[in-house]
Symmetry: D2
Subunit: 427 residues, 4 copies
């Protein structure tokens, strides 16, 4: 009985069988100037059909085998509309096409999103759309989900290093006295952003300044960066306590990262959605009883806790990634958005199910929302442009509720594997 974990031995055995020390050394060492000349790809600031073609010439000259790829990525329609992408990409060589499926109509009784919505989801994973569609149908059959955005506030968290703890304290003191001017400096950069909280965190000679903003209808990551930069420059120009150095973001905000700060205080829009499901509807749509659902939910909750997840939920990331990609949101924000809490509880003969997501980062303006196909996807459910940021967040949360219902039902009923086997069968 070896005391080395079997998975370690497995990796080592494979390596020993497939390589030698000398070969490994050769592979891993720096290769300065010994291979292809270092010609980096170069593209001007302009993005248009001709810039795309120019890049392809460079690619194909370096990698002739890549030639066959060109027309799939740089198809005619993409070339014709290339200029539309200019503010969203650099070194553009074309577009990748992700299939979009729809779910619904999903009845949402929301403070901001209210009505029956057909929601587009972009994914390459079989069974995902079918599963969320199943959840949507169940919710709609039950009269819809109650949903509200209960909080909002995108963070940017500059960090300032001083000479001592005393200076940290004096700096915080100055900030609290200067708060109107700081607010003015930040808000001067934006029509829609509002600085709603300034929360200092001291670690001895370092001060993190949590700047929390509402961002109108935009997701707002750039908006808060620019506003905070102005705020920091105001500090630099006026604060008598001079920082040794400072940074626009001290890696504290949880931007693009799951964090307990996000779980506890929220980042972006916090939305809670719930539905009350009669037992008969649950059985009809999910082939599982309320007791089946609860028995699984209780074990799943334990699984979350024991494996050190942030919150407890089944697969928000699936619905969020598909919704974010379809509607021109920042897909990287799935990393921070896909945390939260799914609850399932018996209420008499009904099943109460809720999801609460503290960090939804979506916008109905800005980002990729005005790109041709993303904009079209937003048109399907009509939440494009000004006035729809909060509604979009409510739809995102309700989509997650669909997914939680469906997957919990599938696992509780023992259908999970079968769905994946059968729907991916065409591959």
């Amino acid at each position: 009985m070896s005391i080395i974990p079997p998975s370690v031995l497995r990796v080592l055995n494979n390596l020993r069988a497939s390589t030698t020390l000398e070969a490994a050394q050769r592979k891993l060492e720096p290769q300065a100037g010994t291979r292809t000349p270092k010609k980096y790809l170069r593209a001007g600031r302009t993005v248009n059909a001709s810039s795309v073609r120019a890049l392809w010439r460079q690619i194909v000259s370096a990698k002739p085998a890549a030639a066959t790829a060109q027309h799939q990525l740089a198809d005619d329609e993409t070339l014709e509309t290339a200029e539309h992408y200019a503010g969203n990409i650099e070194n553009m060589i074309g577009t990748v096409k992700l299939p979009v499926g729809v779910i619904g109509p999903l009845r949402i009784n929301g403070m901001n999103a209210n009505g029956d919505f057909i929601v587009p989801l972009a994914t390459t994973e079989a069974a995902l759309v079918a599963s969320y569609h199943r959840g949507a149908n169940l919710i709609t059959a039950a009269g819809g989900a109650s949903v509200a955005m209960v909080q909002e506030g995108v963070l940017r968290t500059p960090g300032f290093r001083f000479r001592s703890l005393l200076e940290s304290g004096l700096f915080v003191d100055w900030v609290t006295r200067e708060v109107e001017a700081l607010q003015a400096a930040a808000e001067a950069t934006t029509k829609h952003g509002k600085l709603i909280a300034l929360e200092p965190v001291i670690d001895n000679d370092i001060v993190f300044l949590l700047c929390r903003y509402t961002t109108g209808d935009a997701a707002g990551q750039n908006m808060v960066t620019i506003a905070t930069d102005a705020l920091c420059r105001h500090i630099g120009a006026h604060c008598p306590i001079r920082a040794l150095n400072w940074y626009i973001e001290a890696n504290f905000s949880g931007d693009k990262k799951a964090s307990y700060l996000g779980v506890i205080t929220g980042r972006g829009r916090k939305v809670s959605a719930s539905v009350m499901l009669p037992g008969a509807l649950v059985s009809k749509h999910l082939h599982a009883t309320i007791d089946d659902m609860l028995a699984y939910a209780s074990m799943a909750n334990l699984g979350s806790l024991l494996s050190g997840q942030l919150g407890a939920q089944a697969h928000y990331a699936n619905g969020l990634a598909a919704f974010y990609i379809a509607t021109g949101q920042d897909a990287a924000c799935v990393a921070e958005s896909a945390v939260g809490f799914t609850r399932m509880e018996r209420r008499g003969d009904d099943l109460f199910v809720s999801v609460t997501l503290p960090n939804i980062l979506v916008g109905s303006v800005g980002g990729g929302t005005r790109l041709p196909s993303q904009s079209a996807a937003l048109d399907i459910f009509g939440l494009k442009g000004s006035g729809h940021g909060a509604a979009l967040a409510e739809v995102a949360a309700t989509v997650c509720l669909c997914g939680e219902l469906s997957i919990v039902g599938a696992i509780a009923a023992g259908h999970f594997t079968r769905a994946h086997e059968s729907l991916a069968r065409h591959r």
Copy 2:
């Protein structure tokens, strides 16, 4: 001085100004049968041009305004190739187009990926590709990054509930005696998957059985589900200790979720990539000295810790999401993959930088890798099809290394805001 947090007051004030209690009540309550008739969207199992058109008729009839969206999503090329997407989507209505930019050539001195790679990234966020490209150029100028996959093992974690702690113990005892048969049952379902570890976790009358697999060149999420289902059915058929209930996944594996289990034991492929950068190259490419980089890195590391992130890194999610989407990976896995550890250390006159990602979930086969444009994207750097799973993971990690270098340089040099302002200027 109110003792209520200002952000709470802000939300409440907005609500009070914009709605009444009666209006809110009306909005939030279930709306069974009172609005549009509940006609769910229906699509057959077939995906082709005609199924796409049929769904659009349903959408437009429910939502006439959606008509304008049709040709952007269901363009001619998409309609012609619709059948290719059949195994990857349900209820398909078209494709969404994400712009793809390239970075590189990125010199990778990897155990599996070895050479100069032009890497496609799909994103709608301005500055992302430019930033990663900058990092790639720096790495290549320094002779490339050393990279190795050091571990692999996708988890599926069924859960079993028994009558007592004693039965849990007897079950674990039985499993350890029956391990060859369980391995055989699981591996009979797959040509490439291997069950490499079976790790039981007992919580009184519940046993979580961590099943860890290598998955060949596939990301392997479906593969491990099917194999584990077979393993569980073998248990059901043969184990004398009968579970009260069991589930194929007890929400323990970290599938689509950031978790400490993933951070500590890894899920998917664990890859470490590093580069040694002469100070002069750092200054030339990033306009920051090594000391500048380290001063920021130290504060950023503290920011990670104080805000409760898993690991410490700047923005793996950006690179991973863009790489996953471009190459047909599961974008939802960004939620679990975007954790890990970036280190920056001075080594004489050089800067050592490494990234280690314990949970990379990529495949060179399966998932969306065979779709037209995704397959083309893989062709650009030549890691498509059998034999390239590990290499793909090494590229993914090196892309993250590019991004870490570039963003740390930008923040350290004070250029972060400016890059975003200027590159998003066309919007």
Copy 3:
């Protein structure tokens, strides 16, 4: 090569060798009424010499072998002073004696604690006091540590369950309008406690109400419970939105538990302490150079991150537990207090070291501070009674700083094992 972890196999092998299934079953099943009659120990409310003796009679009658223990626990001095313990224990049978060692004089340049302190530490672990003493001497030799309490606020977090998300919102709305009355209700119960923040957290139909108090010179756990109870009763009496149920503590505050809430927002007193150490002093006292210290600190920081600790520090728990026990604090609070952040950085020829603890729970009044020997321990350094709560927290943090310096030095210099071997040699 088995795929079962070796540690699991080990446990099973031991069990198989030492027991049978039948024996295990017999051991684990409920034994109602089959053994000794169920006579629970009974002690009246009074605590004095005679109540102690009465309990011993019951114990010895149930367990004759326990008789020899009586005089060690219920020694003459304990019996004579038994009444002093009446407000701190029930079912009292005596006292346990923990050895107390002293460190110092420790020079503390604190906002509240200022001077040279001899600090008593109670522990049964060899080498602990010697190690902290070494750190104290180094700090004093360098002119002392700069220390300040930068924040305070003990939490109690009642939870309220309503009928719907809407009611949750209405409740929060009511709370924000009624804040003065709530504050008055809470503060009417206490001379020293002040309610300084009311932070609602909504999870659909549940509202957690984070009540944050300053607690004067007491640790304040009971004070905030009683004040919050009054606050809740005011809500019950006056709030038109009736909770379905509510609880004085919804397990959200982090009371007696490490939590990210505590790490991020603080619970109790947050103190930061630092010292600037000339390299020569480091070498003289710790037998390690600054570079040695930093090399280890960097790996230790990585270890913290990779193993999922809250914050990054070496062993605050050792110093805190010993200090809490010696001075009559609540030793269980070590669970929440022993988190935070140790930083070590080079500053020219000096080593900067800081510790920041967000959750120190100590009081110079209340709890066990007025018990005979605990009160005496406080007398040694003169921070007993009113006016010393913040100072006590600053001493606690500085003690942790002593411990961090010493252990990092010992491990960096390779002396860690030796110290433990040699100092525990008398056992």
Copy 4:
């Protein structure tokens, strides 16, 4: 409406009112040589009555007011037995006396602890013993708790830094080939310790080597340090891949720290304890129905999750700290032990309750177990000396079960505040 959090403003206002900048500066700056001469306390290696008295002379000369404290700490009995403490403390000046209460008889149906136990708990917190006693009586009335140690393995985690990732890999390779010799080296230092797993974790050029031991009947922290030191020295003497530096503990093991590593893989002894409680007994003992208990448990579980606790439980730390202190265990280990999972579930007319603690660090030998009063405390329930380590861990877990039942009952029934008010009334 200020955007600064009210608790920050409160602290600043207090500071502004109570100090000036100049005063603060004076307080915080280093005070080298300006105050009392730096005479550190000096005590020889010997611990006896005369060494204790010698230290008191130094203390009183530095701090005359401390004189009154002497006889409380250095009482006659302590002076007479001072030599007994020699292996457990340095700079000894006396003993602190903590009151000890008893609970029980607690019926434990354990694999290792089996019978009716009277358990001593040392605490200065009113209501704690009464509360645990209540839980114990309920468990005993129900026929006792089923308990088993299901896993054990104390960790020590040395870290090794190499020149490159390749060297890390070669080192791991060497370790796996040399495993018998390493095991022999480690186990040669101890009669009872066994090295049961060696788990390498690579972060590029650093390898953490998780060494997992069973430690016989000792808690084993020193045992594993000494064994691992020998293991590392064997590596140093024989491994051809030379580490740039290495450390006996790379802050990865979770020693004295709550960590997800501990939650997931366990550190020390993992014990699960449960009880099945008829509803009538619950009502009689706790004045709450099963439904009351479950309603609270569900909210408390959510509170754990939303506030970022490790696991979900109410107050293990209270029971563990009191049990550890009474029985001579290391109280600092409460920081790592007080995590785990409490479950409450309805089973027909019964309430099932379980606790699972993955990191119990207790020993029936070693540490403080042989000190006079601690040894006496162990005598009360008869688990002293060889052969009782696992049993002791089972008792510790069952004590936690008592506490969970009682506090959940108290909060569910609304009695929590009252108990604390009334039992602390004598102060």
